[in-house]
Symmetry: C2
Subunit: 454 residues, 2 copies
Amino acid sequence: MTQQRKIILQESEIPTHWYNIMADMPNKPLPPLHPGTHQPIGPEDLAPLFPMELIKQEVSTDKWIEIPEEVRDIYTLWRPTPMYRAYGLEKALGTKSKIYYKYEGVSPAGSHKPNTAVPQAYYNMKEGVKKIATETGAGQWGSALSFACKLFGIECEVFMVKVSYEGKPYRKVMMNTWGGTVHASPSSLTHAGKTILAKDPQSPGSLGIAISEAVEVAATNNDTKYSLGSVLNHVLMHQTIIGLEALKQLEKAGDYPDIVVAPFGGGSNFAGIAFPFLQNNLTGGKKIRAIAVEPTSCPKLTRGEFRYDFGDTVGMTPLIPMYTLGHNFIPSPIHAGGLRYHGAGAIVSQLLKDGIIEANAINQTECFEAGLLFSGSEGIIPAPEATHAIAEVIRQAKQADEEGVSKTILFNLCGHGHFDLSAYENYLAGKIKDYEVSKDEISASLAELDTPAI
Amino acid sequence: MTQQRKIILQESEIPTHWYNIMADMPNKPLPPLHPGTHQPIGPEDLAPLFPMELIKQEVSTDKWIEIPEEVRDIYTLWRPTPMYRAYGLEKALGTKSKIYYKYEGVSPAGSHKPNTAVPQAYYNMKEGVKKIATETGAGQWGSALSFACKLFGIECEVFMVKVSYEGKPYRKVMMNTWGGTVHASPSSLTHAGKTILAKDPQSPGSLGIAISEAVEVAATNNDTKYSLGSVLNHVLMHQTIIGLEALKQLEKAGDYPDIVVAPFGGGSNFAGIAFPFLQNNLTGGKKIRAIAVEPTSCPKLTRGEFRYDFGDTVGMTPLIPMYTLGHNFIPSPIHAGGLRYHGAGAIVSQLLKDGIIEANAINQTECFEAGLLFSGSEGIIPAPEATHAIAEVIRQAKQADEEGVSKTILFNLCGHGHFDLSAYENYLAGKIKDYEVSKDEISASLAELDTPAI
């Protein structure tokens, strides 16, 4: 065989530490504020929701945080994940550029989400927590946390956005198979859910609403904590295992990327692959362009405002300094459910503000077209979220060809599309619609906010 | 980390040759017979259905057949597949035995089937074939062949057993995503399908019927060939890549199995992992016990008769010397659709007849229970077919513990269960039924046969 397609690491090469980009940022993110007082919050404010070790990680500026041995042991169920040189896609495009992808779909839950679900469940277990409540959109995060909780003997209660609960029943069964309990959100189990249902009994739900419900369950039950699958600093940090492995793999291939691309929902997917490379950008090393790709239907990075906003719809979470469309913004029902979130995490928002990263928004039709080209040339059927990265990679490769140069492009293939085939069915039948948000819609949503500007 | 969980090979370690057990069998299988004349068939009889290279492989007694470079290159999309030491399952069982599994679910189609789909599509492409017709039960095979055909630019037409077509719509979409055309079988597109529908317009279909339809399409169209996902000698041989890799991986682990276990449908899954180890049994080397596991609802190995029978329902294929329940036998609708086939391949049947391999039948309730234990301890949710192997492994480990010994057990985790979650849903809801076939039912089905005895 003339070409090596996969770059494989041994288990002994799994990184021993997560990378904390906080240590290297020229401007640290502004502090989160208390939702009532608008004063910076302290660890004690977060204690009802998170175990102390995760609160410490959330505010840490240590550059490296050691991965517990028990977590690394469980990581070996699917890690190190393979890196592929995308020879098939390169050939299909006829590009001179080199394309690599890191494939996170080999995890039991089928995405990158277990990278943080496992340590989160672990630290909760260590501190005696009996139950974790969480939300899930497309179901990737709920699956990952159910899986992780099962391994550590913790109960898992998932509030799943109603439109996904009804449209993706097998994701629910997957959670059940790992012992998770799943409710359609908004539910009548919480005050938050009841309030929403009173206003709109037919509410399709949103990630913001589901977060409100899960936070309420954790805040009002002593033995229950809350867990979030993206946005927060510690979540992004856990995901850096992806990029740290990718660095080693590209070193084996004798290569280094010019461009790193990832889909963007709350930031964990993008941070996971990009931050370890940005470390070099920030410390005088070789520079990459890091591009976060969001759907045009939920364009907080490219068209949102940088200000304080709530992480949830009801307004129970701390105020986070973020690029946001407003916490009441309900994105159109695109198939990349994992990208339907109104805001971006504090770290990623600060990096975008400071021009250290870039963002781009792409329509879902172009994304599905890219996904189909990918599945036909590389075999793997990508999750709709992942197709956003592929579409951007194709744009970048074409642009490089037009300019007569060859780029080395790395992207995060964050998950497979085995639970998203109804979306592909719609695409193949010509039934996929694009949603461009109007200027007025965004202005109106932002005008509703009475949260502090920055 | 104290324990290494995965045993990983590099792409350069992918075997260069398939192993042909025909070379080492003490008694070669009897020849297939012409369905009309009952005389041994020659290559020219098979030429309308298969490309000449596959016909040669079907009758070859060469011990090693070289894998074409182009096929090995495509194998690297997912191969070498990982081997796991099942520490989680061992702990859950509290067993002293060592359990290893080879995980074939990492292929794009999610099972071991692409191991033979890719070379079959390749040889067809080389001989100028434009289209391949095939059947599929649970959808694993149809997905694998659609994927393989896409890579080589060949059309793929799939007759999918109607009950699966209706119950597993996402498998159909997966085939469509790779460009495959899928029909519910029995269909009105073929004479065979029309005949069945005339007798029973509500026929749920069966693998045997779908084979009849696909064979008819190939036999009556010049540019179209037929492809089978199991049973035939060349198909089993292509799958030996699994066991050949497993041999290398266990060598790295410094181990050798006492027992090798695999689910049994037509034989390719079992042959794939077991034959390379049986090579040692047959040539004076270290001996394993090889156990094929079938569902109690379709017990051809444990309760069938060894005689000539058709591979399909209508009686269009050559007569194969096989353990069979009769080609009119319609198995109960268990969830392991890939194991619902009336007969066993000629090689495996001969090995069973000669006492070289063993067989066992297990009820699906016990299998799902095993699958749930596995998914909670190892993470991966197994396909219902694969749970048959897991259930047998658990039996063997428990028996060894009772005897106070430690065994080394290897099994083939042939695929994931991402398209079978409705089956898990039924199991979790207590709705799974067991089907024991009555003695009279088997006798009646066999009594209908007018095919030659052996």
